[in-house]
């Protein structure tokens, strides 16, 4: 099947109005823009035969090579070939910041520097690659897919394949990790479903790792050009920042442009820093499309902000934490509106910062003592503060979906409950979290609650797993639906207890009359049986049935920027401070993370193990970005220089140190139960904290790292460079 065979399949919509349209087709025909773009599909009875056929087909392909555009410089040069000639340039997004007061503050600042910071390309890399099975039978399309957003996938499949949405079922069973990469609705899903419809038999496609590395989204790949004004005291007066993101070919749904807007929006994070002007440009190149990845722009922005702070500290001869301290947000400043419009609702920014300094200081001494006798090892500590935007609008990312989610609760005749929610499980613990919260809200035992998610036939329309939002929107909708069924259950119980409903309380799975301990009790099972089956037992006029549907959308969330481009795009904000203590071997350049601390605040904690797992796992991915993973391309040919885990270095147990966490709990004032998000937090801090620590360790060499990943090569080059200078 090639591009011609999918003529009757729709083109992906370009919903985001600030983006130039890419008109993505499920299979690419005349112009192929990156290695990994799907151009043909082969169906066979087994994978080995299919791969033979692909090889044979590849040998017959006729390709005229065009000259590739592989870097930001190439993409923006005047002679650049254009990926989309109709655009007139290679910029898919170009937003120019205009804050005259920031420029005036810069001009007035006693000192200034400009610098370019670079964050490399990574990929989310779930251990389970993507996979799709589709079957078309009796006029219905069923798709089993490893995906983070089952309903969004369903809407997209129906739209492109010309089916009624009710005739499409999407099931996402036990997704083996996502980290953002599986929020996108990919071409392969459409092609497999289309093949299944054409062939009239089930079709399966399992992505292999080599395919995954070029065909699933990449991320990050940003450079920030900053202009910073400061004084001798180390006060940073103002900063202009131009975020330039290489989004690859751009042919992915939803587009990968939003993270770069988040970078500028959250970079000042935990700091009171009003004078920031951000411009954002996303360029297209002949690389795999960039998309969502855990952190979603925040790690890049925070890396730049923290490196700027460290540079200023060095220039004025201060401890970097003394530059941070006067800027750190105080509780009295809550809610605090950041320059980009994000309104931080609450947090413990100062407390987490102060606590992490205690931990880092003690650890530094321990590690210094450990390496005392080795003059060739240098030890350093690095810090970072940041906020994590939680429960964001999806409109900025998709141009179509917003911030909604939903739950239905059905009380079964035996007194158990089926709780179905629109969020999704991708390994982050959403099923256990939902069961725990629903059991609590319904006054039931954990074992009495069955949780349903990830099946569009059984769960209400919801937006799935992304944006550190699941716990909040799940809780918001589950609590509301639970109240409805509980109200009715109390009326039924009151009738049985011959009491007023207002006097009925639910404790330990039984309804009793308030203030009569040891008195008559009615169980959930009795209430449920009456409510659903033995409706003859109901009070006159009360209809049978014990179920409810509820939706939740944070009311203060903004979906559109105002005239000045400011937007309050996330409903609540977690915060954290990290400290990394590293030992750097001057001989080899080897960096070892000796100790790592996270002092974190995600509001009310529902399930401590789930929170711990999210933070520690997030830190591991942050370390991967700080020190290991990279996706380089040959600038001449456009060939990816990675095809396996031999080139894409995913850190193992030997590289990831133990991570010590501590928590503060600042409940979110406007969120259900005070819950905030935690899914992305851990990933945001390590690039900044580790880079800061390495530069501390190598202070004698005047190392000022501006680029990740920080590798032994970085260290050795810096040491050589400093020798050359002296």
């Amino acid at each position: 099947m090639t591009a011609d065979d999918v003529d009757d399949v729709g083109t992906y919509p370009d919903y985001i109005v600030i983006n130039k349209p890419v008109n993505q087709r499920p299979l690419r025909g005349d112009v192929v823009r990156y290695v990994g773009a799907p151009i043909a599909a082969v169906a066979a009875t087994d994978r080995y035969a299919a791969e033979d056929a692909v090889e044979a087909l590849a040998a017959t392909l006729e390709i005229d090579e065009l000259s590739p555009v592989m870097t930001v410089e190439q993409a923006t040069s005047d002679e650049a070939p254009l990926l989309y000639p109709e655009w007139g340039d290679n910029k898919v997004v170009d937003l120019v910041g205009d804050r005259p007061e920031v420029r005036a503050a810069l001009d007035a600042a006693p000192h200034r520097f400009t610098e370019t910071y670079v964050v490399q390309r990574q990929t989310p890399l779930p251990m389970e690659t993507r996979g799709v099975v589709a079957e078309y039978r009796d006029g219905r399309l069923s798709v089993w897919v490893s995906h983070q957003s089952p309903h969004i996938a369903r809407t997209t499949y129906a739209m492109l394949l010309g089916l009624r949405e009710a005739d499409v079922r999407v099931v996402c069973p036990r997704v083996g990790g996502g980290f953002g990469g599986k929020t996108h609705v990919y071409s392969e899903e459409i092609v497999v479903a289309h093949l299944a419809m054409k062939l009239g038999r089930p079709v399966r496609w399992i992505e292999d790792r080599a395919e995954h590395l070029v065909a699933s989204v990449h991320a990050r790949d940003q450079r920030h050009v900053v202009d910073v004004g400061y004084d001798d005291e180390g006060h940073i007066h103002a900063m202009r920042c131009h975020v330039i993101c290489d989004v690859g070919s751009g042919e992915v749904f939803m587009a990968g442009t939003c993270p770069s807007l988040v970078s500028g929006g959250v970079m000042t994070g935990s700091y009171d820093f009003p004078n920031l002007e951000v411009s954002t440009t996303c360029v297209v190149t002949n690389k795999t499309p960039a998309g969502a990845y855990r952190g979603f722009g925040a790690p890049e922005g925070v890396f730049v902000m923290e490196r700027v702070i460290e540079r200023v500290a060095r220039l004025v001869g201060k401890d970097p934490n003394d530059v941070r301290a006067p800027m750190i947000l105080q509780q009295s400043q809550m809610p605090y509106t950041m320059p980009g419009g994000g309104r931080i609702d609450s947090g413990s920014h100062q407390q987490t910062f102060e606590r992490v300094i205690e931990l880092g200081t003690e650890a530094l001494q321990r590690v210094q003592a450990r390496f005392e006798d080795d003059p060739k090892v240098r030890v350093g500590v690095g810090y970072t503060n940041y906020v994590e935007p939680c429960v964001p609008t999806y409109f900025a990312t998709t141009g179509h979906w917003a911030g909604y989610d939903a739950a239905t609760i059905r009380i079964e005749p035996d007194g158990g409950a089926t709780v179905a929610v629109g969020v999704a499980e991708i390994g982050q613990g959403m099923v256990v979290t939902t069961r725990m919260l629903a059991a609590d809200a319904l006054g039931m035992n954990l074992d009495d609650v069955a949780v349903v998610m990830g099946d569009t036939d059984r769960a209400p329309y919801g937006l799935g797993a992304w944006g550190s939002r699941g716990a909040v929107v799940m809780a918001g909708s589950v609590v509301k639906a639970a109240e409805v069924v509980l109200d009715k259950a109390r009326v039924i119980a009151a009738h049985k207890l011959e009491a007023a409903a207002a006097d009925v309380v639910l404790e330990d799975g039984a309804f009793t009359v308030r203030g009569s301990p040891g008195g008559t009790a009615v169980t959930w099972a009795e209430v449920a049986t009456a409510g659903v089956i033995r409706t003859i037992e109901l009070p006159k006029g009360l209809e049978g049935g014990l179920d409810a549907a509820a939706t939740y959308e944070p009311y203060a969330l903004e979906h559109f920027p105002d005239e000045s481009g400011r937007i309050h795009a996330a409903a609540t904000w977690s915060n954290a401070a990290h400290a990394a203590v590293v030992a750097v071997d001057l001989r080899s350049g080897h960096i070892s993370i000796e100790e790592y601390f996270v002092v974190h605040d995600c509001g009310t904690i529902i399930h401590p193990n789930v929170v711990e797992g999210q933070i520690v796992g997030g830190v591991a991915q942050g370390i991967a970005g700080a020190m290991y993973e990279n996706l380089p391309y040959d600038p001449e040919t456009g060939q990816p220089q990675f095809a396996s885990f031999m080139e894409y270095l995913v850190p193992t147990m030997s590289e990831i140190p133990p991570v010590q966490t501590e928590h503060f709990e600042s409940p979110a004032p406007e969120m259900p139960l005070g819950i905030k998000g935690v899914g992305e937090a851990g990933t945001i801090g390590p690039p900044a904290a580790i880079t800061n620590a390495v530069c501390f360790a190598l202070a004698d060499y005047h190392l000022d790292i501006t680029e990740t990943p920080v590798t032994p090569m970085t260290i050795r080059a810096a040491i050589r460079g400093s020798k050359d200078r002296t």
Partner: protein
């Protein structure tokens, strides 16, 4: 579309024990053991994360030793005794000590890597191993979710408390 029908249609008879039961099959010489287990025997608990020997998700025990089923051909397993994740728990579903330790320590999130870790531990972990030794031992298994900490905790407990 096939280029060399003779080679592709060739089948080699193999006989092996998998989780205690004897299996016979005629397999193409190029069939990977991981594919034979998953597709041929329907034992999909063995996961495939890279097929080039790095991630460890496909680890099974071959004659008691942890090995990568993606780097092994099914024909090489002729006469071998294979244990997969499906063979780890008791027949009545009671978890093995290794599995129970993972459950107790929250050592999995998405669970995709878990079978590989469990088989590596079941095959290679020795009593009294220190944490650095364990980290070395299990550095051939990738996990993208947990940051490894909870896995190390489970393994350390096993190295200290598991009966030899």
């Amino acid at each position: 579309m096939t280029s060399d029908t003779t080679a592709e249609n060739r089948r080699v008879p193999i006989r092996l024990r998998v989780n205690g039961s004897t299996e016979s099959a005629a397999v193409p010489p190029r069939l990977l053991l991981s594919d034979f287990l998953r597709e041929g025997l329907g034992l999909t608990g063995t996961h495939v994360g890279c097929e080039h020997g790095v991630c460890g998700a496909c680890t099974v025990l071959i004659d008691g030793t942890a090995a990568r089923s993606c780097l092994t051909l099914a024909v090489q397993a002729d006469e071998a005794d294979i244990t997969t994740i499906e063979g780890l728990a008791e027949p009545d579903g009671t978890l093995s000590t290794v599995q129970q330790a993972f459950a107790d320590h929250f050592s999995l999130q998405c669970g995709f890597c878990t079978a590989g870790f469990l088989m590596s531990i079941a095959g290679e972990l020795e009593q009294g191993m220190t944490e650095p030794e364990i980290r070395e031992l299990l550095s051939g298994n990738l996990c993208r979710c947990t940051g490894y900490q909870s896995i190390v905790e489970a393994a350390v407990e096993l190295a200290g408390t598991r009966e030899a």
